[in-house]
Amino acid sequence: MDDSQDLFVGEDGRPRSVTVDLYNDSSLQVEISDAVSERDKVKFTVHTKTNLAHFKKPEFSVVRQHEEFIWLHDTYLENEDYAGIIIPPAPPRPDFEASREKLQKLGEGDGSMTREEFAKMKQELEAEYLAIFKKTVAMHEVFLQRLAMHPILRRDHNFYVFLEYDQDLSVRGKNKKEIFGGFLKNIVKSADEALITSMSGLKEVDDFFDHERTFLLEYHTRVKDSSLKADRLTRSHKNVAEDYIPISSALNVLGTQESSAISRSFIKLAELFEKLRKVEGRVASDEDLKLSDLLRYYMRDSQAAKDLLYRRARSLADYENANKVLDKARMKNKDVKQAENHQLVCCQRFEKLSDSAKQELIDFKVRRVAAFRKNLIELTELELKHAKASLLLLRNCLVSLKMDH
């Protein structure tokens, strides 16, 4: 697997590696080069570099909003030709609500904070806002990049339009339809779920798919749970880091308001806590990026893989139905040719889908293992870096305090 091609470098230079390029093809490179957050929407600048003949220019940019990404994703889903492919999960809607609320609450003020504390909290919340913003950019970027990497998906006409058409795609009005459509989709999904879980009479002849079905069902549930727990863990870490702010502030006041033999120690301690808070904050955000984000992505990706299995199961059901119809026709000796054709079509469709799905699922595993490996290594290295930084800060402070004795 080629890890060296870091197409997904985030704005702070840190590689986003929830997915890897299995095909190593740079003929179509897509990135989100800029993003602007307006009050209730985010505008992404999608930048494309290509040597493919199809495109008018080798390099170009367009501005897209979230709804247009969703439109693109849905067109892939609805396209029968891609039934045997894991469609990259759509990026989540940009959600700054929580962060905005917090900033607002801070602004409305809690008179109990000193000016310094207020400034620090504000800094923290602004950093949080920025982090959420960066994440949403990255999620949208990864979506496009997976499409660009996939040998079949990249050739989709709508994809070209999305990348190149420099006007508004006018898909926003579809929101209402989207919501309603989404509702229907969920009903169908639960039926599908029943299809592949209880295998309502469908006989699975292929061991590979049998195994995959069992695996994916459990895996998806587990990774969803882990993602939730990782989020809570990250949140807790952030809380602890934030707690250091008022502690540092109070120690500072204690140190400055009196001039006893302990004042210097208080001030040193205040400084220490301020520095420790920054390190703890970074631990929290790194855990978020490397662990929470990873797990969340694979929750969505494993769902997409499950969707592939549903489609295959449906196609198998269709095939089996066609067999039944053919048998009946042969018995009655009526419309046999028609039934034979239909059965052939279903069979071919099913087999094509199965072959494609098999490859896709194998690739999924490879991708998943690579992503986990990369992120776990990076997580560990970052945890070590931060722990060592904290240790150094603590030791220096201890030396300094003991010298005062």
């Binding site: 727990k229 990782a230 809570r232 809380n239 302990i262 986990f372 070590l384 904290s390």
Partner: protein, 516 residues
């Protein structure tokens, strides 16, 4: 200032000193030299011979000192008097009670009941050797005694000491919480009104105790018991660190005697408890109405200082409590994640990744333990120190209030005296000659009585002022020491956590790299 200059320890090491004095030498020259060498000697309260004091107020203890010393003191008394111009008063320059001589009696710990102090020299030396009190107290082995609502926890109080005021070098007794409260109550009633900062006892907790009584063997009641045990230990340590309180017979009885009369008046809802609450309320009202003419800026300054300190410590304490809470949450969430990661590892069908995830789960489980331990350190070291000092400062403020009350009493006595004098003057112009003489005599008597009270009031006021200065000095020193020690311990706990984190993650890294 008396706060800085501790009274010279008469029980200083060298035998020679005493011999010099025996030869009739100036007590103060030798003791002045010893002043330098023992900066923080405790008051050798035991060293008062009966014959010394012409001081009012504090009754010196009756001691049977060893032979030489008794004479020594007698000599000293004759030699030294405030009038001798060469003598520099050893004690401070602030309003020195005109009456109390600047003799060893100034070292006297006021109001000690005549006791069985068989002092021997070594012990005086030990006490004189400043900080090393050589007494170590631990509270351990909480044990539930009895059942139901009458149950209580008994704690083992172990004392290890080489001080000879105690009969043995090492001994243990069993005490219950109300015994501690009883001890504090006695000490407070004996010493607070004369200006001593008596360490406050740990707080009662009806909810906490009820859970324990009812017999819930859950982690929260175990935590409650541990919190209480630790608080009781700190309470006793602070109490015996105080040189005056250490000498108190109630303290010694508490530590030593196997049976202790049950302190029932400490119950919150008892008659005594209610009386205490009423008194506290009355005190609060009085405090507001006493307008004292502060002639000494030191007291005003100090009061303001303590007020500021109180505020800041409370604020810090609240913030640290929040930290403890969040750290516990972090531990819980880490554990939950660890379990989830283990499940994920089980369901992962790629062998190497599966193994790595399981190991991640193990790492996180260990880290959860770390967070829990850190939360304990946050609490027992940092948070409890702050809450102890918040309560100690309340005791300090209480002592300042006592001074105000003493001042008020003095003023009231003066006012009363004034009234009597006016009454006497009026009698001069009265028209009832037959009753006149009798009335005059009566009034005269009363006037003498009140004159005495005024004098007593003034002395008391000056004495309490002096005591407070000293106590505050001692308190500040202890505070600095305490905080410094705890800060270092706390930082070391944080260091420990980071070191462990490094260890765990370093062990995990190769596992992550091994995913193929």
């Amino acid at each position: 200032m008396a706060a800085e200059r501790e009274p010279p320890p008469l029980g200083d090491a060298e035998q020679t000193d005493f011999r010099e004095l025996e030869d009739g030498e100036d007590l103060f020259i030798s003791t002045a030299s010893t002043l330098e060498s023992s900066p923080s000697s405790p008051e050798p309260a035991s060293l008062h011979a009966e014959d010394i004091s012409t001081s009012n107020g504090p009754k010196p203890a009756e001691i049977s000192l060893e032979d030489d010393r008794e004479d020594l003191f007698a000599e000293a008394t004759e030699e030294v008097s405030l009038d001798s111009p060469e003598r520099e008063p050893i004690l401070s320059d602030e309003p020195s009670p005109a009456i109390t001589p600047v003799t060893p009696t100034a070292l006297v710990t006021p109001r000690i009941d005549p006791v069985m102090f068989e002092r021997c020299k070594e012990e005086l030396e030990e006490e004189a050797n400043g900080d090393s009190f050589d007494i170590d107290i631990s509270v351990s082995d909480p044990e539930k005694v009895g059942e139901g609502m009458n149950a209580y926890m008994a704690y083992k109080v172990t004392t290890k000491t080489s001080l000879s005021i105690f009969n043995k070098k090492e001994f243990s007794v069993k005490r219950r919480f109300s015994d501690f409260l009883g001890l504090h109550s006695k000490l407070a009633s004996k010493y607070m009104h004369i200006g001593y900062i008596v360490p406050p006892a740990p707080e009662k907790s009806i909810v906490g105790m009820t859970k324990v009584k009812v017999g819930k063997e859950d982690p929260s009641s175990a935590e409650f018991v541990e919190k209480r045990r630790s608080a009781l230990e700190r309470y006793l340590e602070r109490t015996v660190k105080h040189p005056t309180l250490l000498q108190d017979p109630d303290v010694q009885q508490f530590l030593e005697s196997s049976e202790l009369p049950r302190a029932v008046s400490t119950q919150a809802l008892s008659g005594a408890g209610i009386l205490r609450m009423v008194n506290k309320a009355a005190d609060a009202v009085n405090k507001m109405t006493i307008k004292m003419n502060e002639s000494d800026a030191w007291f005003e300054e100090k009061q303001q200082q303590f007020e500021n300190l109180d505020q800041q410590l409370r604020k810090l304490h609240t913030s640290v409590e929040t930290l403890v809470c969040h750290r516990k949450e972090l531990s819980v969430n880490t554990a939950a994640f660890a379990k989830s990661a283990a499940m994920l590892g089980n369901s992962e069908d790629h062998t190497a990744l599966s193994r790595a995830l399981s190991q991640l789960a193990e790492v996180e489980e260990k880290i959860d333990q770390l967070h829990q331990e850190q939360a304990y350190a946050d609490f027992y070291l940092f948070s409890e120190l702050l809450s102890d000092y918040v309560r100690l400062i309340t005791a300090v403020k209480g002592v300042f209030d006592q001074r105000m009350k003493t001042w008020q009493k003095w003023q009231d006595a003066q006012a009363m005296l004034q009234k009597k004098l006016e009454a006497e003057a009026k009698l001069q112009y009265a028209n009832k000659p037959d009753k006149l003489q009798q009335a005059k005599d009566e009034i005269r008597e009363e006037i003498e009585e009140w004159e005495g009270k005024v004098q007593q009031g003034e002395t008391d006021f000056k004495q309490i002022s002096k005591t407070i200065r000293k106590e505050v000095g001692r308190f500040e020193k202890e505070r600095v020491k305490d905080f410094k020690a705890v800060i270092i311990k706390y930082l070391e706990s944080l260091v420990q956590t980071q070191q462990q984190l490094i260890k765990y993650w370093e062990a995990f890294l190769p596992e992550a790299k091994a995913i193929a």
